[in-house]
Every structure is written in C-alpha cells, then in structure tokens.
C-alpha cells in the first residue's frame, strides 16, 4: 500500500475553483432532487451522491473528454464531475425529452458518451468490464485516454470486480478502479459483506497498486488520482484507489437509515463534510476567499434552479419515441396490436 497522506503540492486557484464549483453543484443538485422527490414530483428510484462529492471531483479533475468513466446507480455526482450538462441531467431525471437521454434512461441511466460519461448503471458491478473495455479501446487506438471505474463497497464482492480488474491487469490497460466505500450497500455494512478489511487490500490479487484515501478530503483524492492517472497514461497499467466516504442520504429516497449509527451520521454530516473541508483548505491556502466562494455557491444555486425550471418546462417525449433507438439500422415495428 502506498502512503497517501503526505501532501506533495498545492493546487492552483483555477483548478481549486473548478473543483469547488463541481462539488457545490453536486451538493446542490442532490439536495434539490431530494426535496423535489419528497414532494412526489419525481418518478422512480433515486440514489443521491451528496456527501461523496470529493471522490468524483477529485478524480475527474484529471480527466478530459477523451477519457471515459463508468458509473453506478448513484451516478449524478460522476456525471456532474465529468462535465455533463445540468439542464440535460435534471430534465432526464424528470423524464423529459430534453433530457440527456431524451427521457428514456432516467436517473439510473444518465449518460453522455460525447463527454466520455458511459452511463450510470442500474446493475451493481456492471461498470468493471465496461471500464476495462474503454481502456482497451484507449490502448488499441492509442488515444492517450484513460478509463475510470467508480464502484461501491457492495460492488466489490461481485464477480465482475474480479474479472474486470484481472483483465485490465494482464493487459496492462489504462484503467483506474475507484472504490467509493461509504460503509454500506443498501442496509448491509461493508464489514459484514466483505471478507477483506479494505477494498484496496484486494489490489494485491491483481498485482496492481492499491491505495486508501480519505474520500472526504478532496485534495487527498486529487493526489491519489493524479498518481494513478499518470501511471495509466504512461502505460504502466491499472490502479485501485479506495476512498473511504459516506452518503448523506439513505440508500435511496425513502430509506429510514436505521442501520446507520447516529454518531457516525452526525460526524460525517458536520466535521467531516467534504465541501466544508475543501473550503477550509482553499481559504487556508489563499486559493479563494469567503466572498469568492459564497458568490460561486450562489451561482451554483442559480444554475440548479435554472435546471429545475428547464426540466419542469420541458415537454415529455412524444409517443413515437417509445419504439425508436432500439436499433441503429432496422425499424422496430414491434408486434403488439
């Protein structure tokens, strides 16, 4: 295991402001969805990323549109960090035709392939092989790109974890496996379901570096990701980074969260809050000031508000689209009467 707590560098203000903005966007986006959902406006299952912002943002800070990411059922944060349009995201969650997937995918399937965001995924563990495949394309086409697989502590026990990482390792592919260990898979604790102490320990099975970082510390994630992305871009193969984090809300909207300890909850929602910590860091290192950050927060809030308005005022997809997009070059006539 490599050491991960030695701060090797500070960050320039531009990068820090970008990270702060993205984290703030995620937080406000999710808080807003939470509220809207509780009013019964939003359809379906919604899994919120609030609390885990530092992970998606700390990693995606190193990526560009040529790089791919795979995501999970808890995908809004990854989308935002990878640069997906907020209006298109919100409209997708509302099931509107202006959504990123024209309303056909919904929260669990938001994607923007043009931005290298290969989709939230309703299947736990679905991302491992997909990230490996994106890494294969990068290698075979020599694009210089990398692929990142975000996955949960629950997914770490799925067979695809083993298959995907082993393949990335033997083929030395530019893939970074980022564990978001928030302590629970639904209501099941990580410590119960997993026979390892840390997910990063399992990296040894594949002969790749495994690093544990405080996933509430955006700088720690940023630095670990930098090492892994550099490694990958240099053709040195895959890495695994385990980010210890926490989700502020329940597994999905409607979860009473009785399985969570009240102390841990308190602690994570306050002292350990990723955005507060990063804000502190920026102020300490003069990367911005209170005023600048407050202003940014206001702008972010406004953009989320605008996204809600955009979504609400958009139309639902029209009936004809029910049977389009099933095939590229074959008309799906269906068979129903």
């Amino acid at each position: 295991m490599e050491a991960s707590n030695t701060r090797t560098q500070t960050m320039d203000s531009h990068q820090a402001m970008w990270m702060y903005q993205k984290m703030s966007e995620i937080r406000h986006f999710e808080d807003t969805v939470h509220e809207t959902f509780s009013k019964g406006v939003l359809p379906g299952f919604v899994h919120l990323y609030a609390g885990e912002e530092a992970v998606a943002v700390g990693v995606c800070a190193h990526l560009n549109d040529k790089d791919s990411i795979t995501s999970t059922h808890r995908g809004h944060g990854h989308c935002i960090a990878k640069g997906c349009d907020l209006n298109g995201m919100m409209a997708e969650i509302y099931g509107k035709e202006t959504g990123l997937c024209n309303g056909k995918g919904g929260s669990m399937h938001i994607a923007d392939v043009s931005k290298g965001m290969l989709g939230a995924n309703g299947i736990v563990g679905g991302g491992f092989p997909l990230a490996t495949g994106a890494g294969l394309t990068a290698k075979l086409q020599d694009t210089g790109g990398v692929a990142v697989c975000f996955f949960g502590d629950g997914a770490n026990n799925h067979g695809t974890f083993h298959e995907g990482i082993n393949m990335a390792a033997i083929w030395n592919l530019p893939v970074i496996f980022v564990a978001e260990n928030n302590g629970y898979a639904e209501a099941t604790p990580f410590s119960y379901a997993s026979s390892c102490e840390n997910i990063a320990d399992r990296a040894a099975s594949y002969g790749i570096p495994g690093e544990i970082v405080d996933g509430k510390d955006a700088m720690a994630v940023y630095e670990a990701a930098e090492r892994a992305v550099t490694r990958a871009r240099n053709g040195e193969g895959p890495s695994l980074i385990e980010c210890k984090t926490y989700r502020n809300y329940g597994h999905f909207e409607g979860d009473a969260q009785k399985y969570k300890g009240s102390e841990e909850r308190e602690e994570h929602l306050k002292d350990k809050d990723a955005i507060l910590q990063f804000r502190q860091y920026m102020l300490q290192h003069n990367l911005s000031n209170e005023e600048g950050l407050n202003k940014l927060d206001e702008q972010v809030k406004a953009s989320i508000q605008a996204a809600v308005e955009f979504a609400e005022s958009s139309d639902y997809p029209d009936a004809g689209s029910l049977i389009t997009d099933v095939y590229v070059n074959y008309t799906n006539t269906g068979r129903e009467s």
Partner: protein, 344 residues
C-alpha cells in the same frame, strides 16, 4: 376469509408458515433482513427486503435463517442450489428478475439441469422469489418481465400470481415443491389488498384459474395484466361482449386444458402479457392453441404485449409501453366485431 391484507403481507405470511413447519426452510438474499451485524439495530427496524416484503421475519426466525448476502447473485443463488441438493429447502431472493444476468448459469445450467444430468438421483427443492414488471418508473434494468426466459428452461417451474390469496397459496406450494420454482412478484401489486385466508394452505401449481366466465372471447392474461383484462371485460360487457378471463398462474407447467376448453367455448383467443413480444409467453400460448385448439378458432389469435423495446423511463412512455384496457377492448371489438353484431 373476510380478512383483507396486502399482496406483500400475503407473501410474508407464506414464508412464515413454511418456515414454522420446516426448519430446513431458510431465506437468503440481499437485505432480506437488512443491517446484518449492526449492533444497535433492533430486529423490528430491519429493512426486510428492499420493498419491506420480508419485514419482521428476522424477529421470529433469527439471522441464522434469514440470511443477508453480499451482492453476489451467482454466489448466493449457486449456494442455494447446492444447499437444496444437500438437504436444505432454501428460498432465495433475486431482488429484481433483471439481475438474472448475474446468475443465469446457476439457475439454468446447475439448478434446473442437476436432476436430469444425474439420472434422477438428486433434487433441488429451491424457490427463487423475484420482482418483475413495469410501471414503477424503475427504467430499463429494473422493470422487465422475464418469466418467458425461465419458462423456456426445462427443469424449473414458473409461477406468476395475480392476487394476494393466490400469492400466498402458490408460494407455499412452490416452497414445498421438490423442484426448482421461480416465483415472480409484480412490484406494482405489493400494495394491492385482497381477502387472504389465515394460516396454512396451498394453491396447486399447474392449475389455471378462470377469473371471469364469458362466452365470446377468451383472454389469457399474465400476472398484473389479469386486472387490466378484467377492467377491459367490464367495458366489453357494457357492449354486450362477454370475455372469459383465464389466469394461468403457473406458466411452467402450463394448464393447457383449461385454456383449450375456454377457447373451445369462445372460439376466440387473445393473450395479454406485458413482457416483450418475441419468443415469450404470449407466443407460447398462442402457438399451443394454434396447434391443439386450431379447430376451435374462428379468428386470428391476437397478442397484446409490450413493444419490442427496453422499458423506457419517462412516465408517459412507460404508460404507453404497458398493455391497456383500451387496447384490449379495441382488439376484442376488431376480432369479434361480426360475431357480436350477429348476437345482438
């Protein structure tokens, strides 16, 4: 009788009844209790499944018999197959039938084939409970109805209940059955209330139920679509057309006789199924009747199904995706138009 409980509670009762009678019955699945090894959690606060269907069972039966599993469908479904073959009678929960993609081998190549491959010298008394169905805004990977895929597999049985009382009786029968049974629960039916007898009883696998008698057209409908068909039947009755609604309840084995007898009476068949249209249960029943009931038929066999597409997320599209009473009425009218004109 007279006692009204939900579909979900009926299933819960079926599990409790069988677990009380046979200590080899255990329940395995993701969060079927929930919060395993969390000290401060009281049993009554445990999830009891993602929809709360198994809530409370852990209080009575404890965590040795209500086993939370990792997210490892191949692992725990495969373990359940072999636990069954070695003397247990497990009920395992595949949370959504869509997740069969992670454990098809354990079901198709191990569980369903073991008995045959071993020359009859083994049995697999395993029940797999699983959620299916669209209408919950759960999108493409959590809304499929995949009983056709399972019905195609020799060596396992498939059951799709449409009412709380039958859900209970069929589930008890499934658990007590010595074969692998896959039991489908429509997530949009869980809150449906109905009269459910107390205590232990079974409803035979392989027997269809006539949910409404009628003389003009036979409508075979699966699961929740039984209710759509009944709604359509009311509208049709108002137009003087009497539809007979047949609910197969188990798809494998299929009660061919009841379906054929009904078609013999009505001379018209429509199959209503919300699954996708190809190589599926609606085609299966249609083909069976086009062979064995051909001479009874006065008109083409119609199938009302979902279109050949994944389930869309957008509520407006998902509503269109599902069969509707209107479509059924229109189809029946087209099919029997002349006959009824003559009758009235």
């Amino acid at each position: 009788m007279g006692r009204t409980i939900s579909f979900s509670d009926a299933i819960n009762e079926a599990l409790a009844e069988t677990m009380r009678r046979d200590k080899n019955v255990i329940l395995m699945g993701e969060d079927v209790a929930g919060g395993a090894a969390v000290d401060h959690l009281q049993d009554e606060e445990a999830w009891g499944g993602v929809m709360g269907v198994t809530q409370g069972l852990v209080q009575e039966f404890g965590r040795d018999r209500i086993l939370d599993t990792p997210i490892a469908e191949a692992g725990y479904v495969g373990a359940a197959v072999s636990a069954a073959a070695t003397g247990m009678r497990p009920v395992t929960e595949l949370m959504f039938n869509d997740f069969i993609g992670s454990c098809l081998d354990e079901v198709m190549n191990q569980g369903a084939k073991l008995r045959y491959m071993f020359g009859g010298k083994a049995k697999v008394p395993l029940t797999i409970r699983t959620m299916h169905g669209a209408g919950f805004r759960a999108a493409a990977q959590h809304s499929q109805s995949l009983y056709g895929m399972f019905t195609a597999i020799p060596g396992l049985k498939t059951v799709v209940p449409s009412t709380p009382a039958e859900a209970k009786g069929l589930l008890i029968a499934a658990i007590e059955d010595d074969d692998l049974v896959v039991f489908f629960e429509d997530k949009t039916l869980y809150n449906m209330k109905g009269d459910v007898p107390e205590g232990y009883y079974t409803t035979d696998l392989g027997k269809a139920d006539i949910k409404r008698e009628g003389s003009d057209v036979t409508i075979v409908a699966i699961g929740k679509q039984v209710h759509t068909a009944l709604e359509a039947a009311e509208q049709l009755a108002a137009k003087g057309i009497q539809a007979e609604i047949v609910d197969p309840r188990s798809l494998s084995p299929l009660d061919e006789d009841t379906i054929l007898a009904s078609v013999d009476k009505t001379n018209h068949l429509i199959v209503v199924d919300e699954a996708t249209p190809r190589c599926n249960v609606a085609t299966d029943i249609a083909a069976m009747v086009a062979d064995k009931g051909f001479d009874s038929l006065d008109a083409p066999i119609k199938r009302i199904t979902a279109p050949h597409s994944p389930v869309p997320f957008s509520p407006v599209l998902e509503d269109l995706y599902l069969p509707s009473a209107d479509t059924i009425v229109r189809t029946v009218m087209e099919l029997t138009g002349e006959d009824t004109a003559m009758t009235t």
